[in-house]
């Protein structure tokens, strides 16, 4: 029988199993051992593994990131958790100047096996500084791996892979994924970073959904089915390295590609994927390419503006329809807010 658990339970289980397996695994971050336990993902870990391996930290993102790097240089495998990805901006020097570069600039003599869990916030008025999705910043820098799984199954397998990886990994989680449920085997397994996941096969248009947008692409696929469009949905799972082969094969079949990011489009993940696909097709017009993401403004808090700010299944379906039937065609499915957004009441 299939075991069904949530995305956050999958992350907690992966962490606990790896801490059981390897005494070098360490978990640290602001609020890690408190009663909320980072949305349950670190709950009771300190009770089981002690205060030396599960640490709350001062509000010092820069020093604590360097602390994790130093511990990793000594052979530990720290998981540093940020309850909002926005806070990573306080740690950029350590991540970009050190974590990404240590192996190369020290001629392969050291490894920095750290995992940085970065949670993207959304909904209930999170606003300008609690909602940013900055994964593309890290995709820009060689030496960092960036993964953003969308299913509970991949969350567990990718986190275990990230912990065992000998290079620094930015593990991107969207807050709206935490409550979603799916099949997750109890025993340990890894999901490789080299393979994008085709969530649904289709023939008319390829939808690539990054992180939480993979969920919205799956919903859009259902609406599109109602108007006779068969969409293929791909979750890249890993953004760096990026499995461009799987996306290319899909686009060769459908001739139409829409990339939906849970971030801004300018210089973003969607721009990168689009560019790589464009380079693979010789003739202009051979394929039709589009992308979608945050509107190019700061995230507002008023509910109606916030809804306009984000891509959603309705906007995705509508754009995919135009990709298939031409720009002059117009169609929009009647949909309501996604349940995980409607049910989210905060305050966190």
């Amino acid at each position: 029988m299939e075991r069904i658990i949530t995305y956050s339970e999958a992350i907690r289980e992966a962490t606990e199993q790896e801490m059981d397996r390897d005494p070098n695994v360490l978990v640290l971050g602001i609020g890690v051992p408190d009663h909320k336990g980072i949305y349950g993902t670190t709950k009771n870990l300190q009770e089981k593994f002690g205060t030396a391996r599960v640490l709350d930290t001062p509000l010092s993102e820069d020093a604590v990131t360097g602390f994790a790097i130093g511990a990793a240089l000594a052979g530990l495998r720290p998981i540093h958790i940020h309850i909002r990805m926005d806070f990573l901006l306080l740690a950029m020097n350590q991540l970009v100047n050190i974590a990404a570069k240590c192996r190369y600039m020290y001629g392969g003599t050291v490894s920095v096996p750290i995992v940085v869990r970065a949670i993207i916030g959304r909904s209930w008025g999170q606003g300008a500084q609690h909602s940013q999705a900055l994964h593309s910043f890290f995709m820009h820098v060689p030496g960092l791996k960036v993964v953003a799984p969308s299913t509970p199954y991949d969350a567990k397998g990718c986190l275990i892979q990230s912990i065992r990886d000998d290079d620094p990994v930015i593990f991107v989680e969207h807050r709206m994924l935490h409550s979603l449920k799916g099949h997750v085997p109890e025993k340990e397994y890894t999901v490789p970073f080299s393979k994008a996941r085709v969530l649904f096969e289709g023939s008319d248009v390829t939808l690539v959904g990054i992180s939480y947008m993979a969920v919205e692409c799956l919903r859009a696929r259902q609406y599109l089915g109602g108007v006779g469009i068969n969409a293929e949905v791909i979750d890249p799972v890993s953004l760096s390295p990026l499995d461009i082969e799987t996306i290319t094969r899909s686009v060769q079949k459908t001739k139409r590609l829409l990339i939906v990011d849970t971030g801004w489009t300018s210089c973003g993940s969607s721009a990168e994927i689009l560019a790589r696909i464009a380079e693979r097709f010789d003739e202009v017009g051979q394929v039709r390419l589009r992308r979608m993401g945050f509107e190019p403004v700061t995230c507002p808090t008023a509910k109606n503006l916030e809804t306009l700010f984000y891509p959603n299944s309705q906007k995705i379906a509508s754009m995919a329809y135009r990709l298939v039937h031409g720009e002059k065609s117009s169609w929009m499915p009647a949909v309501s807010d996604a349940p995980e957004i409607k049910e989210f009441k905060g305050p966190f």
């Binding site: 930290t57 020093a63 360097g66 130093g70 530990l76 600039m105 392969g108």
Partner: protein
């Protein structure tokens, strides 16, 4: 300090001075294609600290790396080869002077971004303690680093967790070309950190023997008890320009009269005069010979092959 220790201290100071004078001599030939930040005048700090350490102790430094790298036992041949950008260098020609490392000798790297390695020392020390090791970690940085936010975060983190880190602040009065009086209200870094709950002292005159004794006592105590971190500020002076091989007393930001007392109390000369002249001469000959061989090794070593551009980016 016994005669053997004193001889070792002198050897370290002499090695750093002579290596850097050779670097400065070679530099105009353009064989060293890397920015160099010379420690001439400051050798006593690295030497005094490292002479008091155990081989298993760990050291994190800065871009003014030649002194601490050599004092901690960093491989001389690999250092020259690295400055020459050769494949036999300590980072295979990928890091240069500002990123020297010698893992086998516990010298765990140098960063070109000020205050960046301090937190690594704290994390490394935490890991050592978690494993029950009695080794300690030295974090060395300059007076400029004390102005970075990370510095304060690190002192707080280290005292909070009582980790065995010895902070060494090399105060040479200048951050690049800016005097400390233009950067800090009080020139008293060692006093400023005390409210974090750290025992802190200052060596006023670049004296490696006083520094050695302080470090030895602190290190012994940190090994024996879980007393936590310690902080030592050492007043010292950079004789050459911030980056590059020459002097810059005519550049307008400082005057030679400021340097003269430091040159008069040159620790190389002072410690050398404490030694039996025969012992001193033997050390100098041995060191000069090793440095000559290291330069020859660098000259004769191959450049990295083009495919090396792509190696060492990831483990696999």
């Amino acid at each position: 300090m016994d005669a053997d220790k004193l001889a070792h201290l002198y050897r370290l100071i002499f090695r750093i001075r002579h290596v850097e004078e050779e670097v400065a001599r070679i530099y105009p030939s353009d064989k060293i294609k890397s920015p160099i930040h010379l420690s001439i005048g400051q050798e006593a700090v690295s030497a005094g600290v490292c002479a008091a350490l155990q081989p298993g102790d760990i050291f994190f430094g800065t871009y003014r790396s030649h002194g601490p790298y050599l004092a901690k036992g960093g491989d001389l041949k690999k250092m020259f080869a690295e400055l020459y950008g050769k494949f036999t260098g300590c980072t295979k020609g990928k890091g240069g002077s500002m990123h020297l490392i010698d893992v086998a000798h516990g010298y765990m790297g140098s960063s070109a971004v000020v205050a960046t390695t301090i937190s690594h020392a704290v994390g490394y020390a935490y890991a050592l303690r978690l494993r029950g090791s009695s080794a300690i970690v030295v974090s060395m940085f300059g007076d400029g680093a004390s102005e970075e936010g990370a510095f304060h975060e690190c002192i707080n983190l280290a005292t909070l967790h009582s980790v065995p880190v010895l902070f060494i602040c090399e105060n040479n009065l200048y951050a690049v070309h800016t005097h400390i009086r233009l950067r800090q209200k009080l020139n008293s870094i060692f006093e400023r950190v005390r409210p974090y709950g750290i025992q802190s002292e200052r060596v006023e005159n670049n004296d490696p023997i006083e520094l050695y004794n302080l470090v030895k006592n602190a290190a012994d105590e940190m090994r024996r008890t879980h007393i936590g971190p310690r902080f030592i500020e050492v007043m010292t002076y950079r004789w050459r320009e911030h980056v590059g091989p020459g002097e810059d007393y005519d550049a307008g930001y400082r005057d030679r009269t400021e340097a003269e007392p430091w040159m008069k109390s040159d620790q190389l000369k002072r410690i050398g005069e404490m030694l039996d002249p025969k012992v001193r001469m033997k050390i100098e000959e041995e060191e000069k010979d090793a440095i000559r061989k290291a330069i020859q090794f660098a000259e004769e070593s191959p450049l990295p092959a083009p495919e090396e551009l792509y190696t060492d980016m990831y483990k696999d």
